[in-house]
Subunit: 324 residues, 2 copies
């Protein structure tokens, strides 16, 4: 019923794209890419976890408009017809969403619904940024999109995990019952320039601790693994999914796994110096292991991550240092 | 922080209790019980799945007030201070929530939040009706409250299951971060008088098919099991939980399991006649097996179900016949 093509960024015609969370880490990289490709971008953010500096990068660009608004209370856009509404607004790191649990729940529910309604009204595509957190503490490894997850609905992380599961459910409901042309990605750990120094996730912690000359904080014994995707790989996957007519969730992440201690070694290699390590207790409900099965992305999008960890760390350190 | 007692219905002082979904099956039995105990009740319903006849039962009662409203868009109550806000509004049977997927998602998110905000403003207790559906198609049997469930976030039932998981998450968020005195129950299959004939769940299907002299519809081979709780047992459990200071979810259900074919036999015994059976295919995502572990309710509430299946079926048939 809904499989009428939405114009994609892969076509030559310039598009009008509204991005919620445009001042966030991933949002700001999308803005950059779409502007570079010749599209018009309307960024929306309330700066609950986004950074003003990420808006300042584009202010004055003739094809960039910014609206400061909390999308959970409505998206005050009254301009020309949109081609895409891309919902990337949400606190996304544990210290942020645990500081704002109700706001995090709301941007997953009301925020997603406001985006869906806007897309519906404009006949635009709707693109949801979901997360590997919907898999919770998985019993299946690696996680394919068909795995239903293992999430504690009442745990301290549930304000984020359940909000994203709800966001997926309402996106599918609008797709099935109201014909909105939707996309869903489940983003696995991603890193790169312009992450908040207080983001709280392991790569930013390590990079900023290293830059300050502090010991690197390792939770537990450091044997837990994570996969790390460089931001440019994610943005490429997003662009390809916009061009594909595929409505089920797609994992976007780098399946190569590293233990926390291997990550310490990679940082040591890039910086060419030894680091001291401080061990702390694992937080409550901390997922032990998460790794994407990217069969769907490979098959549907012909996409695989291109940037290796040390290359990405090097790029991140260079670009963040250049922006200081 | 939040463990200041809320007055309970077990105390002698009359309370003011607002019930969303008051025209629904469970809601209407709560209204009846609280009015009988001397409390004042404000019922709220928009009749998306509730029945006007369930409001008519109490119209004219000096302590009953009714507000017709969709609680997803706000609860327009401006009366005296409430002691309890009890959120029982939601389509709850698969044919209803699949007909209204977006409304079902909204009453779980915005509806729950509006109830929490109202409770917070009044310093009232907030009581959430959650469901055994949060366990999805469980891998653990029977299901204790600590089991995290196995729910398909993008399946056709997810509009209900994920809405309820979200409702639990936001209830815990308001409890933890805003000090609201909350309760959560997970209701397992419940039956009794005043269910909608088109409810779609197995006991109403069987009872109404039997009353019309039609064959009983059994999905699959009829070997899948369900547990069935009589409404009066559920209402007693709810009343006891209001009096307890316990904020984690509590299963309320009857752990005695019956296969669909045993349920057919029970109906035959109560009606003292043989039934013909028509087999149909199992619907997509239909949970194969669900049974409550009621250790918490036994321990915290000193509660166990008292009414056996044949007794309950007999009561249901008598009372529904009397209401015709």
């Amino acid at each position: 019923m809904t499989d009428t093509p939405v114009p994609s960024t892969a076509t030559s015609a310039p598009l009008r794209i509204l991005i919620t969370g445009s001042a966030g880490f991933v949002g700001s990289h999308l803005v950059e890419r779409f502007l570079n490709e010749g599209h018009s971008v309307i960024g929306v953010d309330n700066y609950i976890s986004g950074q003003v500096s990420n808006t300042d990068l584009f202010v004055g660009h003739p094809r960039f408009t910014f609206i400061e608004a909390d999308v959970s209370h409505g998206i005050p856009y009254e301009g020309e017809t949109l081609d895409w509404v891309m919902h990337f607004a949400s606190p996304a790191s544990p210290p942020h969403y645990q500081q704002f649990p109700v706001e995090t729940l709301m941007v997953g529910a009301q925020g997603t619904q406001n985006g869906l309604e806007l897309a519906h009204a404009h006949g635009a595509g709707f693109f949801l940024a979901s997360t590997s957190e919907v898999y919770g503490d998985p019993h299946v490894h690696p996680q394919p999109e068909t795995y239903w997850g293992n999430v504690n609905p009442i745990g301290v992380r549930s304000c984020y995990d359940e909000a994203k599961r709800y966001a997926e459910a309402i996106t599918m409901a609008y797709h099935r019952s109201r014909g909105v042309n939707t996309r869903i990605i489940r983003i696995f750990n991603t890193y790169g320039p312009r992450m908040r120094p207080d983001d709280g996730r392991v790569i930013t912690n390590f990079v900023h601790q290293a830059m300050r000359g502090e010991p690197l904080t390792v939770y537990g014994d450091g044997s837990q693994t994570r996969s790390f995707q460089y931001i440019d790989d994610l943005v490429e996957g997003i662009s390809r999914l916009m061009a594909a007519l595929y409505h089920e969730p797609v994992n976007l992440g780098n399946p190569v796994e590293f233990t926390m201690l291997e990550l310490v070694e990679a940082i040591e290699d890039v910086l060419v110096r030894r680091m001291s390590v401080e061990h702390r207790e694992l937080p409550q409900d901390d997922p032990k292991q998460r790794q994407p099965d990217i069969t769907v992305a490979k098959c549907v999008l012909k996409w695989t991550p291109q940037i290796e960890l040390k290359t990405g760390l090097d790029l991140m350190l260079q670009r963040d240092a250049a922006n200081r």
